[in-house]
Chain length 188, copies 4
Amino acid sequence: MARPKSEDKRSAILAAAMRVIVTQGLSAPTAVIAKEAGVANGTLFTYFETKTDLLNELYLDLKREMAAAALKGFSPEGESRKQYFQVWTNWMAWAVAHPKKRRALALLGVSDEITSKSRAAGHKAMAPMRELLERVHSNGAMRDAPTGLFMAMMNAAAEATMDYMALDKAHADKHCRAGFEALWRMIG
Amino acid sequence: MARPKSEDKRSAILAAAMRVIVTQGLSAPTAVIAKEAGVANGTLFTYFETKTDLLNELYLDLKREMAAAALKGFSPEGESRKQYFQVWTNWMAWAVAHPKKRRALALLGVSDEITSKSRAAGHKAMAPMRELLERVHSNGAMRDAPTGLFMAMMNAAAEATMDYMALDKAHADKHCRAGFEALWRMIG
Amino acid sequence: MARPKSEDKRSAILAAAMRVIVTQGLSAPTAVIAKEAGVANGTLFTYFETKTDLLNELYLDLKREMAAAALKGFSPEGESRKQYFQVWTNWMAWAVAHPKKRRALALLGVSDEITSKSRAAGHKAMAPMRELLERVHSNGAMRDAPTGLFMAMMNAAAEATMDYMALDKAHADKHCRAGFEALWRMIG
Amino acid sequence: MARPKSEDKRSAILAAAMRVIVTQGLSAPTAVIAKEAGVANGTLFTYFETKTDLLNELYLDLKREMAAAALKGFSPEGESRKQYFQVWTNWMAWAVAHPKKRRALALLGVSDEITSKSRAAGHKAMAPMRELLERVHSNGAMRDAPTGLFMAMMNAAAEATMDYMALDKAHADKHCRAGFEALWRMIG
DNA sequence: CATGAATGAGCGTTCATTCAT
DNA sequence: GATGAATGAACGCTCATTCAT
């Protein structure tokens, strides 16, 4: 089958795109991404039909990686607070460990290049976390507020905490806990 | 060129930029913005030296308008909770009344075209709110968390509430209060 | 109204396109055409929205010029043979005097970039000649053959004669007459 | 590489090229031709060094096939008119039976990718017809016109007749004869 | 100052051809 | 020999900015 499409090259392109996007934004030329990945200009297009496709796949890739990191070791048993604290801690740890990926994800998340299909798939990767939170919601202080508002508040708190942890890495752990406590006061 | 002739034209361009950005994103051509403003292509550049300048000024403009709306009728006396509830209500009302402006502001906020100088100036417009919140912070449940984290959480909650109100306008008032209650539980 | 669109520039581009197409074919880069016309790359697109538009307008332009040359001094009175001989002579003279234009027209004529609308408009420019020929047809040796076949034969004879005249310019006049005689034997 | 292994593959590529060119023009990608032929992208280049080579060989192939069809059963004896009518009829029949091949040949014929060498070889395939016509020429009405003009006129008439037959297949036979009569009036 | 044509760098994508498998 | 991924030059077109009118 001749030279098979190389999974390595594919991920090299995705990784390069991530790095380049962080420094140059989503308008980074595909040529720059290709060069950063160490492949020829045209090769990028044998792995991704269009730039938009590349961006969408990168979005999903990062979203899935983030979800996997957050849900690492997660089992849907035990006390909700403890469970969620574990997830929260994983999540924050990933965010602090991969600031570039988080930045790229943020840029992609607000771009209108990302299709609703990609967004839905990204959502799905977070499903276990969402289920856990639904349990929290229905028993907690916000039980009378709509789920959508509840989720939005939770997400917002998470993003804010990540931002702050990144800003003051030295006390990241402390901020992680403080963020969680604040959140739990709100929703618990 | 500090004060070009027609202040009307200037604001027409800013308003046009806002409208166009909402539908086309930040990459909207200056030619389109100019046409939407009813002026010639080149005229835009006698009012704003570069497109980046235009975006920065629009950012500040919107930020200031938003701050003014939120702080309408604000006087730094009285009980913090009541004061802040008033501000919060104003703020949410503005957001719901001007979804396009909020959308444009959101796009601008994450763009790397916006300089830190603009961001600082935008910050400044919110100073009275910040001062009020600092009082809340030093006496409230998050008094041991850093101000930055505190502010980030508050902002995040506000954005989340706005989003949700926009999504379900019929019960906007209810969500406005629910968001505030949740926030206050966290920070009060 | 600022710099008005310059009719000169427009025709410079059309003329340049004609020249370039003759040497490089229809796939000649727009950049080359622009340079040949002495304008910037982008300027070409303020006069012609797309390359296809440029090609279509060039086609029409040449077709009209050719028709005008052939029909110069034509009045629909007098004996058909004499009339048509005059047209034929004009036509051949134009073809020999403007071999590049004829070559460009030939290339454009077989291209599928040229729309049926352009072809129809080109046809229209030849209408007076067509009418004259219809008279010839209905009274001549081919009166029982369909008009379409008649016209095709006439056109083919014209093209063949032009080709041969171009090949042997020294005796162009003689070939012009020989071609006409042959044609007339066929259709007269 | 003069005679690569599979003659089948070679003709599959040529046939595919013909089909693809008819629908997509001469700028059809080699990749598309290869796929249509059921071979890999690169395989095409083991049978034809360059795309230009492929086009030239296709041109010759078609030209030869056309000549063979026209000359089927031809023997250089008997009355010229009868002989040529036979050839003409064969020729027209082939054209009507293989409109795609004729279309491809037409596209190739006007392309500047086709070398003069290929054109000369194509010419050669028609030699017997040409010899017959030379006899007609030297005794016919055009005996005083140069051979080149004579041949051009004959070819033009043939093309025109083919075009018209293809347009109105129902009466193809009639048009075939009408075309011949017209031609013979001109040259006979 | 207003206008809009002029400019040319820059971009996403294509495709003939090469070459590793 | 067959395959199809790799290559990179090339192209049509866009658009921020300049400048003649």
